[in-house]
Symmetry: C2
Subunit: 202 residues, 2 copies
């Protein structure tokens, strides 16, 4: 076990700076130069670690996906009740937010608007969506919901809604209602209730 250096290596500082700037100001609008300045790294060093800006963007998205997945894993490991496990999506977002402070909504959806389809970071956007779809289907199935596909679609809708509301709130204060995450969870729980007692409702 090696001792952690006082200053993280350049690659690490680059990813941290990229994560902050790309998320806060958008990917296209953030120049490589801004990332370098914030990281305190020289251009040559960056290009020694990453093939170019595109590769840095892809690494940023990959790291974000990984952290989100681990957070969700962590929350899932704490839940036993099948319905709680299905609703863990919203608890995981809350935990991720308290940790990483993503006050501007979903980084992957934002990136989806900015990146062309052939961008090297694009697979991570697909991975994010696939993870959500597959897990929600499995958890809905395990919770005994008759139509896991329908359940996954409903929870995904509420999840996307909550994240989008964060993005909205970041630009315009004074919106109706606060804590969209809690609201989305409540709505999801109520909907799941209707599915358990009467499979044809909803």
């Amino acid at each position: 076990m090696t001792r952690a250096p006082a200053t993280p290596p350049a690659r690490e500082r680059l990813l941290t700076a990229a994560g902050e700037l790309f998320y806060a100001s958008g990917i296209a609008a953030t120049g490589v130069d801004a990332v370098l300045t914030r990281a305190g790294v020289s251009p040559a060093t960056m290009y020694a670690h990453f093939a170019g800006k595109d590769a840095l963007v892809a690494a940023y998205l990959g790291r974000r996906h990984e952290r989100w997945r681990l957070t969700w894993d962590e929350v899932l490991a704490e839940r036993d009740d099948p319905v709680d496990r299905l609703l863990s999506l919203f608890d995981a977002v809350a935990r991720y937010r308290s940790r990483e402070g993503n006050g501007r909504g979903c980084a992957f959806l934002a990136a989806a608007t900015e990146l062309p389809a052939d961008h090297p970071g694009h697979p991570w956007l697909e991975a994010d969506t696939r993870l959500l779809g597959e897990r929600l289907r499995e958890l809905a199935s395990a919770a005994g919901l008759l139509d896991p596909e329908e359940a996954a679609a409903t929870l995904l809708l509420l999840y996307d809604g909550a994240l989008n509301r964060f993005a909205r709130a970041a630009t315009t204060p004074g919106l109706p209602g606060d804590d969209p995450l809690a609201r989305a969870r409540r709505l999801a729980a109520a909907w799941i209730g209707t599915q358990l007692s009467d499979p044809r409702a909803g």
Copy 2:
């Protein structure tokens, strides 16, 4: 009444081209040059009509806001039942989409990620959110819902969710469930039902 020219004037062609490119590829990623080429307009002409790219972006957002508002007005004018009027939000989105074909979700939310807070187009992002909040509150109130604030927050959540699902579907096919707009409307209608019969549910 003047006759419409065979070729729209440069200003019009610029706004059309900007609308297509900014929406499809993102604002920051789209150069003025690309807009000029698509519009078939020279740089000098563009700068005669708009102070700069920022002003063009603001005009693009303003036009989009106006068209969306008019579409919603139009749908509202066709509805008499108070609950139908509240749900008209989703019908208006459907009509707007069939007309303008916004297959990538909400342009204002996408712009919110890209534009800095002091950008001249920013007021339009706020106008979009304010329009949604105020109208939904009024319509919920007129529909006799006891807590219009709560209703507006719920419908806004579902609206944002549906639009985000479109953005997601544009990058990753094969998601659970289709037609997020119809799903959002169904969920909204069901929720409104619980509010009318029992004000404390939900």
